[in-house]
Subunit: 121 residues, 2 copies
């Protein structure tokens, strides 16, 4: 068993790619992932699961078909399963994601922003 | 659907009880809970699930039978299922917990520190 804490800011310093989540911890069949994001993502949904966004630094807007939510540091939001959403960040934002292992960042939408899954940092 | 962010610090300002987790969000069958802790908790384990601690403010020591881990703000740790642990905080600490809905804070240990479950804030 590992007795070292997982330091979120230290982990964030280890990569710089945008829209490419890195796993930092596993709890049962769920993963905690860090992501750096900037600009516009694609519309997508996750048909089988909710998804949690927690903003660590910067500002994240999550657009929905009928509205949006703006998250600042220390704020979180649960995207219900099956609900289409499009993350957007005017500047660089650091995000902590929580979702089941195996969830792909673009859901069923695919495309060039689809990141490799299960990369640890 | 609710488009308000969940602000962790605002939620923490709404209660002051120690060792009494308050639910702030649900993702599938998991809950995100805030807790304020100070002093010594009881030895216990959760036989059916891992448990995540993320420290928001203050310092938390989690003792194990063969070691310990110290968590400062922005640090997290996953307690594997079935592993006995005893949280301890010299001063006041604010914690974000993630675990399946229904998990009791004292596990199978019981006792006076057992908190009512599923209280939202």
């Amino acid at each position: 068993m590992n007795y070292d804490p997982v330091n979120i800011k230290s982990k964030l310093a280890l990569f710089d790619e945008r829209w490419s989540p890195r796993v930092i911890a596993e709890m049962n069949d769920y993963q905690f992932k860090l992501a750096k994001a900037e600009g516009e993502f694609v519309w997508h949904d996750h048909p089988d699961t909710d998804e949690v966004f927690i903003v660590i630094e910067g500002e994240l807007v999550i657009e929905f078909r009928d509205g949006s939510v703006t998250l600042n540091p220390g704020e979180m939001f649960v995207i219900p399963k099956g609900v289409e959403h499009k993350p957007f960040a005017k500047g660089l934002v650091h995000i902590l994601l929580v979702e089941p292992k195996g969830v792909v960042n673009t859901g069923d939408a695919g495309g060039s922003l689809t990141a490799e899954n299960d990369i640890w940092v």
